[in-house]
């Protein structure tokens, strides 16, 4: 009897212990591979130099949501675990969160998007488009529209509203971007500049009308880039530089294809035989798949509209698509050639200074064919590709996260640091309307 009671207790106690063990059930743990380290780099004060991509420009505008997920901001947040300090950015205020304004996708009917400008809560200072000034410490020094050549031109500070808002009144027009980024006591930098030296020309259809769409001379590019690198490494600072993507890897030039235009024309008039373009050389000819048509042509309302003589726009040799809408085959080849030259300059200068190289040129070429990251398919399709925002040029938050990891990998590989990667799944692609 006594034994029996004992046994009952034994069983009950055992069950109780098991239940407690179960409730507290030890979590599995993954042994970390290495201690967190900055390696040979010092991330205590990071600055980022660049253009719209660096600023977080997206959907055709600079606005607070984009600024917050700009790739340098994502990198800086991760650097914090390996000795990184605070990282300041010229954020718009919450009240003016929509900044310059941007495009939003308001309808998607049968696959055709409607893009509508957001015009509320802007940070406009006046009717000329000047933006609310930002004063104070800035470490994300990305300025939309900045070019390598214009980084050395003081008057550009008056012409570019994004640089203008960062300058004091006295500096506007007298201080160049190159001068503006100096004296910031950085310990580490990223540099992704030069895209617009080729892209400005390309997105204007290979037509040069002003300083923002000239194709920067190759040797000028090399000289200026060298000056910039020398400045940023004056005190032996380490950093990462990025190559310039192939302009044909972005949706801006891959969405409105000649074939799509021709199909649309045939749907209305089965007799439509070819799309006609005016080339940079001034000739008019039937377009081929090698001629790239700019994304905004889709919503320009020009295509197929008859002129005074009754000839449909773009569908007749006597009413071709104008030169500025098309980056024709020869212009594509020209831009590609310049980009390759710029990149070879960037790489050799980076190597000479032992800097890390984030090869965004190669990476975005992979994205063009499609990659899968953490269960997400990412490619350079407009809207659905997930990486590019509604302007077809700039990155979505997801694209920024992906690119941030390209930079982080390059930095870690070069300097033996282990900045943690950004979790791409936490960042959105394009927002679809309800």
């Amino acid at each position: 009897m006594v034994g029996e009671i004992y046994m009952k207790r034994y069983i009950i106690n055992s069950l109780a212990i098991a239940a407690m063990f179960f409730a507290a059930a030890c979590k599995p743990e993954i042994e970390s591979t290495a201690a967190t380290t900055a390696g040979q780099a010092n991330f205590s004060k990071y600055i980022s130099i660049g253009n719209s991509l660096t600023a977080g420009f997206a959907d055709g505008g600079l606005y607070l949501e984009g600024q917050k997920v700009a790739y340098p901001n994502l990198i800086a947040a991760k650097m914090a675990t390996v000795g990184g300090g605070s990282f300041t950015s010229p954020f718009f205020t919450d009240a003016q969160a929509n900044g310059s304004g941007y495009l939003s996708l308001t309808a998607l009917v049968n696959g055709t998007p409607t893009l509508t400008p957001v015009t509320t809560n802007l940070a406009l200072r006046d009717a000329t488009g000047k933006l609310t000034k930002f004063s104070g410490e800035v470490q994300n020094l990305g300025v939309p529209g900045m070019r390598l050549d214009l980084a050395f031109a003081a008057p550009f500070g008056a012409a570019n509203p994004y640089l203008e808002r960062l300058l004091t009144d006295a500096q506007v027009g007298t201080v160049s971007y190159f001068q503006f980024i100096q004296g910031r006591n950085h310990t580490f930098f990223s540099l992704w500049l030069g895209n617009n030296d080729a892209l400005g020309y390309a997105t204007n259809g290979g037509v040069t009308t002003d300083a923002t769409n000239v194709l920067t001379d190759k040797s000028t590019f090399a000289l200026l880039y060298s000056n910039l690198i020398n400045l940023l490494t004056t005190n032996g600072q380490k950093g990462v530089v990025a190559t310039i993507p192939d302009v044909t890897s972005i949706p801006y030039f891959n969405t409105v294809t000649v074939a799509a235009l021709l199909n649309a024309a045939k749907a209305i008039n089965p007799a439509a035989g070819a799309v006609y373009i005016q080339t940079g050389a001034g000739t008019v000819r039937a377009a081929t798949a090698e001629d790239l048509i700019r994304l905004p042509f889709q919503s320009s309302g020009l295509f197929g509209v008859p002129n005074a003589a009754g000839l449909p726009y773009g569908l007749h040799p006597l009413n071709p698509i104008a030169n500025n809408w098309v980056l024709d085959k020869d212009e594509v080849a020209r831009v590609k050639d310049y980009v390759l030259s710029y990149n070879s300059t960037i790489k050799s200068l980076a190597e000479s200074k032992s800097l890390a190289i984030a090869d965004t040129y190669s990476y975005l070429n992979q994205v063009k064919t499609g990659i899968v990251i953490q269960g997400v398919s990412i490619n350079s399709s407009f809207i659905t590709g997930g990486a590019f925002s509604l302007d077809g040029v700039h990155l979505t938050p997801r694209g920024n996260a992906v690119i941030a990891n390209v930079f982080i990998d390059a930095i870690n590989n070069k300097y033996g640091s282990n900045i943690p990667v950004v979790d791409v799944s936490q960042y959105r692609g394009v927002k679809f309307p309800n």
């Binding site: 179960f22 599995p28 407009f382 659905t384 990667v421 692609g429 927002k431 679809f432 309800n434």
Partner: protein, 407 residues
Amino acid sequence: MKKFLLSVLLSVPFWVLGQGFQVNLQGQKQIGMAGAGSALALDEASIFFNPGAVSFLEKNSISAGVNPLLFKSVFQQNGSNISENVKNKIAPPFEAYAVWGPKSNKWKLGLGVYTPFGGLVDWGNDWSGKYALTSLNLKAIYIQPTLSVKITDRIGIGAGFVYNHGEVNLQRALPVNFPDGRSGHATLEGTGKGFGWNAGIYINTLSNITFAVVHRSKVITKLDDGDAMFDVPASLEPSFPDGNKFTAELPLPSTTTLGVGIPLSKSTTLAFDASWVQWRVYEELAFDYAVNTPALADTKSARNYRDGSSFKLGVNHKASEKLALRAGVGYALTPVQDGFVTPEAPDANRYILSAGAGYSFTSKFEVNASFFFEDVQSRKQKNIETGLDGTFKTLVYAPGISLTYKW
């Protein structure tokens, strides 16, 4: 103008199954012995472990048990410093058996209801692998009427017909974003059925060392008319029509087990089971949607499982007339090849440890309890299809209890 094909959004198919879905909890006594015991005529759970041994059971009996199972998995993305854990959810594998036969006759009838496959994994809707999977709830309930016959005093054979009732609920996030930034969500839910069999032979040698050969057939479970539900922004709804259905096939593999029982003394018995699980049937997984759109194509993806196997050693010790103590160890080899590891079955080779106790309150009434622990080895993988890149580590805890009435 340009149509925006969304097919890429769903080009990564859902994943199902793995050794992780094999639930080795079919009888409290055997669980206490790490799942060994096919060569022991221990109790009515022989309906599962070896129908051939059922005819050697001395009494008629009925029993029911449950093993609340906690599957604790952690993931760390390659290069990340963040560990992500599955939510604490308790899966309820259960088993119920009844054995009846006229006393001193050579045959017995049995009925078993048990859950040999299942999984309950919930990573939450916001983890880094959410676009591969957010949660899975899979249940396979086998119902097995059985006949067992003593051919001789030392040899028994038995066989049962298996009906499987399967339920699956599989969810993941879709990489399309609502105006407020949140992701879309897909849920596939359905029930299905399948058929198979379970047969075994039990041999008691002159030295009282016992042997078992058991084969449980594969059970191809067909899910017809499952619900495919997509929560997406309204502008994408034409691509993901409401009320869509899907069909799929879940191949639950066959298992062949060789067992040995060795009486060490009057009160102590060793049991050893070696099992070969023919997972190679799992070559591909296909989902066939009733309505296809350019964004929603049928998916078919390679699995290329190899066969898995397990080795289990258990001991049953009668400490007294009323009390039995048990313990076991085991090791199982994963069928999942490199590049195919997934968050719903973050599978790898695993160690098994178990302990159990039984107490007979009267000659008719018995309680058995067990504790079952699996340590699934940490595995660093990049999934070929989803690109999910990181390290998984899993621990499984399952305490259990059953009540038995004998007559």
